[in-house]
């Protein structure tokens, strides 16, 4: 039985075809989900992909979270369905309250597109079991509003519970600091991705779906995320 993984398209979603390609590349079946449908088509997991839903004009993800399909995603996530938010998808998950905190304008004020080293801080979420703890992976990062912020209590909670899943690796590479900023975007604690308390909902700013083949990405390090969820779904 192949796992069926939903990929949502909002008006303005861009990386949906890439997310679908990544799902296919691990031999799972991508299922296209449309923002206006209050229907998850019986999928086993959902990916909320990157892009600029509704232009991101108000705040990234602010309009998308009200889409009918998101009501279903929130409901399914609360029941434990694996959900992955990438970039704009991460922003949407934060706006819709599935994940705490928020993503704001990069501290350097520019859109940043670069190959980014990350450290896998938690390899026990459904999306990261294929990685070794502490593994360093190279994945594209590309966004305008990628600076993760949360209040001190939330940060403490995330750190205390090991819910920081990915962190930007900023040591040792002087080129990372050329904007005078200590990370690609000034994210608190260099947070690149987090999980919910059960480790089933994960959001991250970098794009694992763009790192599935060294031909079109900097590495194939992103594949681990899709393989991980597959393991979880097949085992279930």
């Amino acid at each position: 039985m192949t796992a069926r993984i939903g990929v949502i398209t909002f008006p303005g979603t861009l990386d949906d075809i890439d997310a679908a390609r990544a799902v296919r590349s691990v031999d799972a079946e991508p299922v296209a989900l449309w923002h206006a449908d209050a229907d998850l088509r019986g999928v086993d997991a959902v990916i909320v992909p990157g892009g600029f839903s509704y232009g991101d004009y108000l705040r990234a993800g602010a309009i998308a979270r009200f889409a009918p399909v998101m009501t279903e995603v929130v409901r399914a996530a609360r029941r434990g369905m694996p959900v992955l938010g990438i970039c704009n998808g991460f922003q949407i998950l934060c706006e819709s309250g599935l994940l705490p905190g928020a993503l704001v304008r990069n501290a350097g004020l520019h859109f940043v597109c670069r190959d980014q080293w990350l450290r896998v801080e938690n390899n026990e979420t459904v999306w990261t079991t294929r990685y070794d703890a502490g593994a360093e992976i190279l994945v594209p990062l590309k966004n305008m509003e990628g600076r993760y912020v949360a209040d001190p209590a939330t940060l403490d909670e995330l750190e205390g519970e090991g819910r920081v899943v990915f962190r930007y690796l900023v040591d040792g590479d002087a080129s990372q600091r050329y904007l005078g900023i200590d990370s690609p975007n000034g994210a608190l604690n260099h947070i690149a991705g987090i999980a919910d308390a059960r480790g089933r909902v994960v959001g991250l700013m970098p794009h694992p779906e763009h790192a599935i083949d060294a031909l079109t990405g900097p590495s194939d390090d992103g594949l681990g995320m899709f393989l991980s969820v597959l393991d979880a779904l097949v085992a279930a």
Partner: protein, 767 residues
């Protein structure tokens, strides 16, 4: 705001009224029409034009839309295109964009356009809407837009105004392109004082479709409906035409208030993204007979071009156009340049399905008219006729000028003032210092500050992007078939010799495509020049067109389209003549692409292909070190370029080349630095014993490339070069253990030091 406006009755200038009031004075001069042009319009119509007609003719007969100064010269492109060159061309000059057959049933379309002046006035929005416009051109061919490139030119890097213009332009291009989901795969950033008041913002878009899906802009089929869809129409970009409003309603609020309208448009990339997806779904569903984007000249252009390309007639109910501003007149609606709009011709039975697809994407769509066989474009406004013209006279039969052409009087002096007199570095210390200074100079420094603001990954098909000699995208995921695109132009070379300079631009773009392993196939151009009313500028233009066209014939690849931008000058001083040339190549399998970075395999040999001569006219060295421009540009040998390209492509096919980088501005030294930094690998270079190291390191002779060949392939590759008559020189080895560029007897520079020099410049200037 609503789409239905109150009937304005007698206040609108109708055809009937125009016929009855032949002596009514009209502000045609304010609209940019000459006396004889106005007389010709009266002649064509047999009466004075209405306000709306006058607005249409004036925008469509403008330099920008009618190519009145360039047409006579551009014909030369057609005249020099042979049948053989045409074989793969599915659409050429005259269509929205050129289309070439790249094999396997795929057609690729690409075009470059300028948005220079708006980008000076409002850098962010000017550049953003430039991207939006070129993407709609590609869409109007029936293609899915795949990638963009942005050739840019600015004033001096350290000029205060450049700090205003460049960051705004880059943010605008990134903001629009990123939000559209189009990877940016290349471009140029060039600084020169001549662009200070005239930055050049050119944007190129490439798209693909199945050959059978090619949509041309034809309004054929009497009775077919004309659909306007996308954004509402507002008062954008009608600065000039608001004169009409003030004439007609002298002193009234609408007219008076509009005189100062900014001609700046604000882009809405989200609307465009949705419009793209909507159009592609319409194409897929077979609901479109003809389609046209609304660019400059808005509805005037779209309706007259659609009508004259089809059955020859069209009726438009202008009061149905969804508006964003209140009280707009027919003239204003016809000339509005509001962005993110398209016009389609649809069979009556398909209108409902058409509207359904638009509704799915939340795209506003209305039927505004239909195709007729009257041979006339008739525009109605609340039941009255405000336009009744033969559409071809608007769209295609504008004035054509034979502007005076004259070689500038000071050209000889410029050429006579060669670089030979300039002091050259000679000691190792001087050469080392020159190398570092050159690498850090604004025109040679890393473009990362710019390109990092562009998404190069989106859509997951980008195989090569900055830094790379050309951008490359995969088109077919199954077979790996893809295309490579590069744009180039060295305005200093063109200034010294416009004919040869244009050929050098062509040669460089061609070479940039070939070094990646792709076969060059077709050419587009964006001809940025000063005022056509200056005979010296017209000479540059004429020479550049001839050089480019003759060059294309020699290389056997056709010019499929392009764009002309005149009047790029501040006061009496024109910009460097800048015919930006874009070359598109095809690669049957992107997996054999050749990157620029060395070190993929241990112990590669470094070869320099081609001949190096003492050529410094117009060079970056003369510019950076001496602020000098004079003499002759490097010699151009297109037969050699062709041979070099064949060798590079063959080398890629047979897996003999692990890296390749073409030589251009900054010469061999710059190529070595870039190849080493891109590959993060050091190398040892040994120049031939009997040569002048300065010349070998910094001369800008054309027709050269640096290649890295795996040791096991070296003999096979050099044998191939020798057999085909391509000169090669073994100049060193890649050294994975080394973290330095070591040029024997000249200098050793750590990669870290090189990187700091190369990458530090733009951030220091613009952060």
């Amino acid at each position: 705001m609503t789409s239905t406006q109150p009937a304005l009755g007698g206040r609108i200038d109708t055809v009937e009224h125009a016929a009855a009031t032949p002596d009514h004075p009209q502000p045609y001069r304010e609209l940019g029409l000459k006396d004889d042009e106005y007389a010709r319009i009266r002649d064509i119509l047999g009466r004075r034009p209405t306000d709306a007609e006058l607005a249409m003719y004036s925008v469509m007969w403008s330099e920008h839309c009618s190519y009145k100064s360039s047409k006579a010269h551009l014909r030369y492109f057609g005249e020099t295109t042979t049948d053989e060159m045409r074989a793969k061309m599915l659409a050429g000059i005259g269509e929205n964009a050129g289309v070439v057959d790249i094999g396997d049933g795929w057609a690729v379309t690409f075009k470059v356009e300028s948005h220079n002046h708006p980008s000076y006035v409002e850098p962010h929005q000017g550049a953003a809407t430039g991207v939006g416009g070129i993407v709609r051109d590609i869409l109007a061919m029936g293609a899915r837009p795949l990638a963009v490139l942005d050739p840019l030119r600015f004033g001096p890097a350290d000029a205060p105004d450049t700090k205003r213009v460049l960051p705004g332009v880059v943010a605008g291009i990134g903001g629009y392109g990123n939000c559209l989901g189009l990877p940016n795969i290349g471009g140029e950033v060039v600084f020169d004082p001549s662009y200070a008041g005239n930055p050049l913002v050119n944007a190129l878009c490439v798209g693909a479709m199945r050959v059978e899906d090619l949509h041309l802009a034809h309004a054929s089929g009497v009775g077919n409906k004309v659909m306007l869809f996308g954004a509402r129409t507002g008062l954008d970009g009608i600065g000039g035409v608001s004169v009409l409003a003030s004439e007609t309603f002298a002193g009234d609020e609408a007219g008076g208030g509009r005189k100062k309208l900014p001609s700046v448009q604000v882009g809405d990339p989200f609307t465009e993204k949705v419009l793209i997806e909507c159009c592609l779904e319409l194409f897929r569903s077979g609901l479109v007979v003809g389609i046209q984007d609304l660019g400059g000249a808005g509805l005037s252009c779209a309706t007259s071009e659609l009508a004259s390309a089809g059955e020859g007639g069209m009726r438009v109910e202008l009061d149905r156009v969804p508006l964003r501003a209140e009280g707009m007149t027919p003239a204003e609606i016809l000339s509005s340049e509001s962005q993110e709009r398209m016009c389609a011709v649809v069979r009556p039975d398909d209108v409902e399905a058409f509207l359904r697809v638009c509704a799915k994407w939340d795209v506003i769509a209305v039927e505004i008219g239909e195709v007729t066989d009257t041979g006339r474009l008739q525009v109605h406004w609340h039941g009255e006729t405000v336009v009744d013209v033969p559409p071809r006279t608007v769209a295609h039969e504008g004035p054509v000028y034979e502007r005076p052409v004259e070689r500038p009087a000071d050209q000889d002096a410029l050429v006579a003032d060669g670089p030979e007199r300039l002091a050259r570095p000679s000691t190792p210390g001087e050469l080392r210092e020159t190398l570092l200074r050159m690498v850090a100079s604004p025109n040679l420094a890393s473009r990362r500050w710019v390109t990092e603001q562009y998404d190069r990954y989106v859509r997951g098909n980008t195989v090569l992007a900055q830094p790379a000699d050309s951008g490359m995208v995969r088109i077919d995921e199954e077979t790996g078939r893809g295309v490579a695109v590069a744009t180039d132009c060295n305005g200093r070379y063109v200034k010294l010799d416009p004919y040869q300079g244009a050929q050098l631009a062509l040669a460089e773009a061609y070479r940039n495509v070939a070094v990646t392993g792709a076969v060059p196939l077709a050419v587009t151009n964006c001809l940025n020049f000063g005022s056509p009313e200056d005979p010296g500028v017209m000479w540059q233009f004429q020479q550049a067109v001839r050089g480019l066209a003759d060059g294309c014939r020699e290389l056997g690849i056709p010019v499929t389209g392009g764009n002309v931008s005149f009047y790029n000058q501040t006061g009496g001083t024109a910009i460097l003549p800048t015919p930006v040339v874009g070359v598109l190549g095809v690669i049957d399998d992107v997996r054999r692409r050749v990157p620029a970075g060395i070190g993929a395999e241990a112990g590669e040999t470094l070869l320099l292909l081609g001949d190096t001569r003492d050529e410094f006219g117009g060079s970056e060295w003369a510019h950076v070190v001496h602020g000098h421009l004079g003499g002759r540009p490097p010699a151009v040998d297109l037969a050699r370029e062709k041979l070099l390209a064949e060798v590079l492509v063959a080398g890629s096919r047979d897996g003999m080349v692990s890296a390749a980088h073409d030589l251009s501005e900054g010469g061999l030294a710059q190529a070595l630095v870039e190849a080493a930094l891109a590959g993060q690998t050091g190398c040892r270079v040994v120049l031939p014993a009997d040569v002048d190291p300065f010349v070998w390191l910094f001369a800008e002779s054309a027709g050269r490339a640096l290649v890295a060949i795996p040791r096991s392939e070296e003999l096979r590759f050099t044998d191939m070069c020798s057999a085909r008559g391509l000169p090669w020189t073994r100049i060193g080895v890649v050294d994975p253990a080394s973290k330095a560029l070591e040029i024997q007897d000249v200098a050793t520079v750590d990669l870290a030091e090189l990187r700091a020099a190369w990458e530090g410049t733009l951030p220091a200037l613009f952060d």
